[in-house]
C-alpha cells in the first residue's frame, strides 16, 4: 500500500509540475513533454487499478455507484 502511494505521488508530481509549467508559460507543451505527462497519468491509472484489485479502495461502477466497500484501514 505504502509503495503504491509513493509511486502515485512520484507519477503525479511529474504530471502536476509539467502542467503547472505549461500554464505558467515557463515551458512549451512539446510532444516530448506531453508524452511524459501522458505516461505519468497512464501509470497513475495502472496504480489506481492495482489499488482497486487489492480491495484497498471500494470499486465504483461507471455511473459512480459503489459496488463494494472493502477498504483496509
Amino acid at each position: 500500500m505504502t509503495t503504491i502511494v509513493c509511486e502515485l505521488r512520484d507519477q503525479l508530481s511529474i504530471a502536476v509540475a509539467n502542467i503547472e509549467a505549461f500554464v505558467d508559460g515557463k515551458l512549451e507543451p512539446t510532444s516530448r513533454r506531453l508524452r511524459a505527462v501522458s505516461e505519468a497519468l497512464s501509470a497513475v491509472e495502472v496504480l489506481v487499478d492495482r489499488l482497486s484489485a487489492d480491495g484497498t479502495y471500494p470499486r465504483e461502477t461507471p455511473d459512480g455507484v459503489h459496488t463494494e466497500s472493502v477498504g483496509s484501514p
Binding site: 505521488r9 512520484d10 508530481s13 504530471a15 502536476v16 509540475a17 515557463k26
Partner: protein, 231 residues
C-alpha cells in the same frame, strides 16, 4: 537576488528528465544559477568537486535516505529534499541527517522555489554573521574589511562617510540626532553641524538609487537621520 554579484549555484539531482526541466526553468527564472544531474554517482561526484550553494534532491522512497547521506558526505551545502514518502519517521530521519527542507510529492514548482529561497537566505545569514557582514536593504557592511557594497558592488567611501554609515548601521531604524551623529563620528572635531549635511549628501550619492529621494538614509526633520533597510 538579481542584484547580487554572483547568483547562487544550485544543483538539482533528479532522475526524471521532464521534472528536472521544470525545476531548472523555475529556479533559473528566480535568478539562480542552476544545473541538473541524475541521482547517480556522476551527480554526486559533481556535487563533491564543484562549489554549490544548495542542492535539490529527489529522494523518492526510503532508499532516498541513502542518496541524502551520499550527498551530505559530498558537500556541506544545504539540501532541499523532495520525497514521495515522508511520514513522521522519515522527517525525523532527515532532520537527524541535517536536511534543511522536505517537500512531499506532488508539489508545485513554486513550492520548490520558495523553499530553496528560504534555505539560501538562511545560509547567507549564517555566513554573513560568521564573516561579520551586516545587510541593510541593498547595502552590506563588512566592518573588518571596512568595505561597503551596494547590490554586491563595492563602494568607495571616504573614512568619514564610512564612520557615519557605520554609526547609522549600528542603530538601523532608529533616529539619531545630529548631535549624536557628530559626537559619535567626529574625530578631532572634523565634523561640524554645518558639514554633517554635506557628508550625508555625498554618502547618499553613493548608497542611494536616487539621492534626491533617499530611501535608505532618511532625514527626520528637525531631529536628524536614520538608516532603514528599504530594498
Amino acid at each position: 537576488m538579481q542584484h547580487s554579484a554572483r547568483a547562487d549555484r544550485v544543483l538539482v539531482l533528479e532522475n526524471e528528465p521532464s521534472l528536472a526541466d521544470v525545476l531548472v526553468v523555475y529556479l533559473r527564472d528566480a535568478g539562480l544559477d542552476v544545473e541538473a544531474e541524475p541521482v547517480d554517482r556522476f551527480g554526486f561526484e559533481r556535487a563533491r568537486v564543484e562549489p554549490w550553494d544548495a542542492f535539490v534532491l529527489d529522494a523518492p522512497t526510503r532508499a532516498g535516505r541513502d542518496a541524502f547521506l551520499l550527498l551530505r558526505d559530498a558537500s556541506a551545502a544545504p539540501i532541499v529534499v523532495m520525497s514521495s514518502h515522508l511520514d513522521a519517521e522519515d522527517r525525523l530521519a532527515f532532520e537527524r541527517f541535517g536536511t534543511d527542507e522536505c517537500l512531499l510529492k506532488p508539489f508545485r514548482p513554486h513550492d520548490v522555489v520558495s523553499r530553496l529561497t528560504r534555505v539560501l537566505a538562511r545560509a547567507r545569514r549564517v555566513s554573513d554573521a560568521m564573516a561579520g557582514v551586516q545587510r541593510i536593504g541593498p547595502l552590506s557592511i563588512d566592518r573588518d574589511a571596512r568595505e561597503v557594497r551596494r547590490h554586491g558592488v563595492a563602494l568607495s567611501l571616504t573614512p568619514t562617510q564610512f564612520r557615519i554609515l557605520d554609526v547609522l548601521a549600528g542603530h538601523v531604524g532608529q533616529t539619531l540626532t545630529r548631535e549624536q551623529l557628530i559626537s559619535r563620528t567626529s574625530r578631532d572635531g572634523d565634523i561640524f553641524d554645518r558639514t554633517l549635511d554635506r557628508h550625508i549628501g555625498n554618502l547618499r550619492h553613493k548608497v542611494e538609487d536616487d539621492p534626491t529621494a533617499p530611501r535608505n538614509i532618511v532625514t527626520v526633520p528637525c531631529v536628524g537621520y536614520k538608516l532603514v533597510g528599504a530594498a
